[in-house]
């Protein structure tokens, strides 16, 4: 009887030490589920979800504090991907956070810009170039279209325009909608 208790006790202590060691030795730096959620978010850093960026939103989803339908730039695609990752039912986008819009890009009307740097401070991805009392400009390739620079501008010189489709970014339409392609040429 005593031997059994002793044996179990020793084993328990041994495993306890082993687990304790493993938890220190193989400590995971960040929560991998947060990384996985973050990877699915569009990284616009717009804050429309109510959090201070995509990663905080991912952390909130992981912690169960936020729903998966709060990201307007991601839209249905992101909701679908999140629902698959987390094994929850997809739901429509929460309209409180905004609507899914086409991809936009900010442009600065340079003749109006007074060089106040307020937009530079607002840009979450450092995509605006300029200095105090110098004209600013948007690096279009790096702009995420988050619109955070629009309201700080004191002279209203920033405009959001839809990203222009060029030949390299053009996509074949889904076949049902492609009837328009068969336009006849009559000479």
């Amino acid at each position: 009887m005593l031997t059994a208790i002793l044996a179990i006790g020793i084993m328990a202590a041994l495993f306890g030490v082993l687990l304790g060691y493993a938890s220190v030795r193989f400590k995971v730096e960040s929560d991998p589920i947060v990384d996985q959620i973050d990877a699915l978010l569009p990284q616009t850093q717009c804050g429309q979800c109510g959090f201070a960026g995509c990663r905080p939103y991912a952390e909130a989803i992981a912690a169960g504090e936020a729903d998966i339908n709060q990201c307007p730039p991601g839209g249905e695609t992101t909701i679908q991907a999140l629902s698959e990752l987390l094994g929850v039912d997809p739901k429509p986008l929460n309209a409180e956070h905004g609507e899914h819009k086409e991809q936009m890009v900010a442009i600065i009307h340079e003749e109006t810009c007074i060089g106040c740097t307020l937009c530079i401070q607002a840009c979450p991805v450092d995509a605006i170039l300029g200095a105090a009392k110098q004209m600013h400009t948007v690096i279009a390739d790096e702009c995420t279209g988050c619109e955070l620079c629009v309201s700080p501008c004191p002279v209203d010189c920033i405009e959001m325009v839809p990203v222009k489709t060029d030949i390299s970014s053009w996509k074949w339409p889904y076949p049902e909608a492609s009837e328009a392609h068969k336009l006849a040429v009559h000479g």
Binding site: P42, V125, A127, E142, T144, I167, S169, P175, H181, V185
Partner: protein
């Protein structure tokens, strides 16, 4: 080790299609007249668009570089004739999207004057392969078979890679298209010399020309030209004419029995494949010193009155070429660039000919009947039988239809060559290729978005880090400044104290000495003396309150 088969192997799947090549070969190859206006797009190739070098108002000479390559996978563009640049801007270009792209518009002066008299190299075989590559690149040569991949890149096998076999693609398997056949009949010497230069550039051990067996005339011309050139090492192999025997991977399989690995390149097998038209262009660039400013275009189809092959300057308006071929016939229905299987519809004929325009096909309703509404897939597997890439078209269709872009890649979507055989045989008339094209561009777009969001994440993280760092640095600076301010302050206070004390001591000393000071007290009245004594006593009392 790559070995050529004695007897060409039949490709997997494929279709026997009516050739329709005789119509356009009835007339010999002719040069198209020089148009009044040339519209030259800066992107006529796969890769980065070229950067314009000219501005409106500039006079340009024939063969003058008007846009330079901007990257390794890119190609320069040259003025196809002499004239004046009138515009550098967006114009519609032949593309399935119908969109516009940057073009350089030149009003020709009719002189057709060279910018610089072309300087060729008489003996290209004494040159270093790198010099040939450079010349080919500077001449703006791209794959003329239709894809438009910069040729100079394909003349470089890469380090530690040897080219065992150079395959020259003269199969031209798609119906109606006959520009390569016309070229081989009209300029076989250019082709053979070009092949020899490419072989030298690649240091290829063997060379084979794969040509469909339904063009005996071209075959004969090539054989004679090879003989005249004393070239015995170039093998000319007729391959069975079945569509798409001219696909790069299909032709390699036919000739060697080897399969290019999934998503791989022929160079993985030690093989490089070039189009026969490209070979002729390489000859003209290296030996004659002429850049790529023209190409042969087949203008054909039931919708054209006089189908023929024309040697056309790049940038020539399509409608002018059609006019040169007698114009449209009454039955014209659609205009395509490329063949009936892999070509795409053009929404207008007010577009320029580009380096990849191999064929302009104006079809009648009979030739390209309108697509009947698609019915459900009945899983008959006819598409599987004809697929030359060995794919499962119905599965690809299924996942493209369901927009399942992960699954569709498990079924090797990107090995699909979009030959259109599956759609041709589909009894339900499902536009299969359109589904694959749709899925491919969607996947590319997702890929682009992913790259963009990765960049945004990185930049955002960097920004947060930077803000944190700036805050920390500011804090450090502040505390440092505070310390620096405190230390001398403490010293000052002591000094001040000492100074005050010293001042007080001075005052005291003066006051005490004041009492002992001699004063002018002579000749005073008694009354005056008494008043002075009174004041002195008061002062003494004030200065020394504790005392008497």
């Amino acid at each position: 080790m790559v070995t050529l088969l004695d007897k060409p192997a039949a490709i997997r799947g494929g279709l026997k299609l009516p050739a329709h090549k005789a119509e356009s070969l009835r007339h010999p190859l002719q040069a198209a007249p020089l148009p009044a206006v040339l519209t030259v797009p800066v992107s006529q190739h796969i890769g980065e668009p070229a950067e314009p070098l000219v501005k409106p108002g500039d006079r340009v000479g024939k063969g003058q570089p008007i846009a330079r390559a901007s990257g390794y996978i890119s190609a320069p563009v040259h003025a196809p004739s002499s004239g004046t640049v009138t515009d550098v801007g967006d114009f519609p270009v032949p593309h399935p999207s119908g969109l516009s792209a940057t073009c350089i518009r030149i009003r020709t002066d009719g002189e057709d004057r060279w910018f610089e008299e072309p300087v060729g190299i008489a003996d290209p075989f004494s040159l270093d392969p790198a010099v040939i590559r450079h010349r080919v690149r500077a001449a703006g040569i791209v794959g003329l078979g239709g894809a438009g991949f910069p040729t100079s890149v394909k003349l470089n096998a890469g380090p530690d890679r040897e080219v065992e076999l150079l395959v020259i693609n003269a199969a031209e398997c798609e119906p109606y298209i006959s520009c390569d056949e016309a070229l081989m009949c009209a300029r076989p010497r250019d082709v053979i010399e070009g092949i020899r230069i490419i072989r030298h550039a690649l240091q290829a051990r063997q060379v084979v020309i794969g040509i469909e067996d339904n063009m005996p005339g071209a075959l004969q011309c090539l054989r004679e030209a090879a003989e005249r050139a004393g070239e015995t090492a170039v093998r000319i192999v007729p391959v069975p004419s079945i569509y798409p025997a001219g696909g790069e991977k299909q032709l390699i399989y036919t000739l060697t029995g080897e399969e290019v690995p999934s998503q791989g390149l022929p160079i993985d097998l030690g093989i490089v494949c070039h189009n026969v038209g490209t070979a002729a262009a390489v000859y003209r660039a290296v030996v004659c010193g002429e850049p790529l400013i023209s190409r042969i275009v087949t203008v054909t189809g039931g919708g054209i009155r006089e189908p023929r092959n024309l040697d056309v300057r790049i940038g020539t308006p399509i409608d002018e070429l059609i006019g040169r071929c007698g114009g449209y016939s009454d039955v014209v229905d659609r205009l395509l660039m490329g063949g009936p299987m892999m070509g795409f519809s053009l929404l207008s004929d007010n577009l320029p000919v580009v380096k990849t325009t191999n064929c302009l096909l104006a079809t009648s309703v009979r030739e390209t009947p309108p697509q009947p509404p698609a019915r459900a897939c009945i899983r008959c597997s006819k598409c599987v039988e004809v697929c030359p890439a060995g794919l499962l078209p119905q599965q690809l269709y299924w996942y493209a239809h369901a927009r399942d872009f992960d699954k569709i890649q498990d079924y090797s979507l990107f090995d699909c060559i979009e030959c259109g055989c599956c759609a041709q045989v589909c009894p339900s008339r499902i536009p299969l290729v359109q589904y694959y094209r749709y899925a491919k561009t969607e996947i590319w777009d997702l890929e682009r978005q992913r790259r963009k969001s990765d960049l945004a994440r990185k930049r955002h993280e960097f920004r947060l880090e930077r803000l944190e760092r700036e805050k920390r640095e500011l804090e450090e600076r502040r505390s440092k400044a505070k310390k620096a301010l405190n230390r001398p302050k403490a010293g000052n206070a002591d000094a001040k104290k000492a100074e005050i004390e010293a001042a007080l001591a001075r005052v005291k000393a003066r006051k005490s000495s004041q009492a002992a000071q001699a004063r002018n007290t002579d000749n005073l009245t008694d009354e005056q003396r008494a008043r002075i004594a009174e004041v002195d006593a008061r002062r003494a009392a004030r200065n020394n309150p504790q005392g008497n």
